[in-house]
Amino acid sequence: MSRRKKGKQYFITALLWAVTLLFAAPFYILIIYAFKPREATMLKSPLAFPDQLYLDNFSEAIEKSKFFSAFKNSLISTTVGVILLVLICSMAAYVIIRKGSSFFYAAWQYVFLAAIMLPFQTVMFPLYKNLVKLGILNTLFAYILVSVGFQMGFAIFLYCGFIKTVPIELEEAARIDGCGVFSSFWKIVFPLLKPVTMTVVVLSALGIWNDYQIALVVIMKDSVRTLPVAQQSFIGQQISYLNLASAACLLSIIPMFLLYLFLQKFIVKGIVAGAVKG
């Protein structure tokens, strides 16, 4: 490598590290705010490192924001929602691809695809009124249903792209050996879908865990609130207690951080399989 080229490479490396540091900076601010006592967040040097680690913020934030109640609601709706999405979307995508020659199933593929573009606003109000009529407004059940309904389009799109690449011969062999439609799907096809299932898990978990708009409309009661809505109102109340708000924010990131840490490689793989090829 020539000297000039080497110099250029150093320059690119330094530039990329600088950009990445800029992207990480907001986390630094969140973390130092969460560990400072209240007085220190009002001083003239907001970027300074905290003098001592002030852990009382966390216990106070947990107590005041009713953190565990919101955390529990988020955890239940995300877990149930993701499992439901994986089960029903993989099944739907399977029949859409395998029975693609039938007009009925092909039409549904386009319906689901079109739904990805649909703004929530278009159905928001009639949906809200229906939930009131059914008596399930302000329940986690309704929140899960609506979230699943709105995540479905993208999940089916990802699954369809992947199932196209799964060879049909395996199922035909199983069929000849006397395997029914159900068992050939669950025993043979579903395990092969693992990479794209992982992507659906990560993306829809992030989507439901961090969703604000649907939760705002479907859940208005304190006791069923999920984290983002609870946090928004907590931040509004604690506008002069930035340390508490930061601590609450930091705590709520942890589960998604762990999920990301463990499933990181699947995100990349699955998106390659689904989005780009599709």
Partner: protein, 285 residues
Amino acid sequence: MKKYKRRQQIAWFSFLAPAMFIFCLVVAVPFLQGIGIAFTDWNGLSKDSNFIGLTNLKYLVEDSQTRNAVKNTLWYTVITCVGVNLLALAITVGLDSKVWGKRFLRSVMFLPIITSLVIAAFVWGRIYSDIFPVNFGLASPLTSTTLVIPGIALMCIWRDTGLAMVIYNAGIQSVPEELKEAARIDGANAVQTFWNVTFPLLAPAFTTCVTLWLGYGLKIFDYPSVATNGGPGKASETVAIFVYNHFFANNRAGYGQMAAIVMLIMVVLITGITTRLLRRREVQL
């Protein structure tokens, strides 16, 4: 045999049935009901309403708030779509060379996406109102009527660039090394190699990303709602917030529903046309 076939068909249908049921309940039925509401003067609360044809549409076109909301939404969409894609593309291409610690850098860049919009808006609110004045001597953009949209767009760029990078990275790994090697031997410099070899092969990823962020931008509700609640004044009120306020604050359900349908048409037209234009330019290897 006929009975067997019937049973087979029912078995296949049962694969689609759960998804179909939830979809109809949550999306399809409310969507059709919404079309009915859009042509009435319903306030959203009373039992009865009158059919008023296209009057809502006429009011909507004449309403200066509509123009304001559309302008804000388009401005926001342009900044985020261009910002996210340029940045993600540049960083992906930069990382596709011998960079020390590139796996670590890629992981850090993806990290913002795990935060919720509420947290992103909170942290950036702190940056704008605490760090900007003290450390850089700048006023917070969220209090200015002209800078509030770019200020909010920056939050989105921070949070979404990592996700776009994942898609571009998937695309760039499918570019065969021999092609770049061949271009280099033919005397192409880095810029020429990028424009003539790498970028055409990244086109499918580019189309996907542009379409995705156009859609996200045109539908944006959360960032401006959480960060500024449409303010100062109505300087960051987007179409989605405009619709939401007509339903839940102004009690004009018929009018809001018409606005929502116009919003849908806007999203479908803009993303549809852009995708078609971009797809036509893609090359096949």
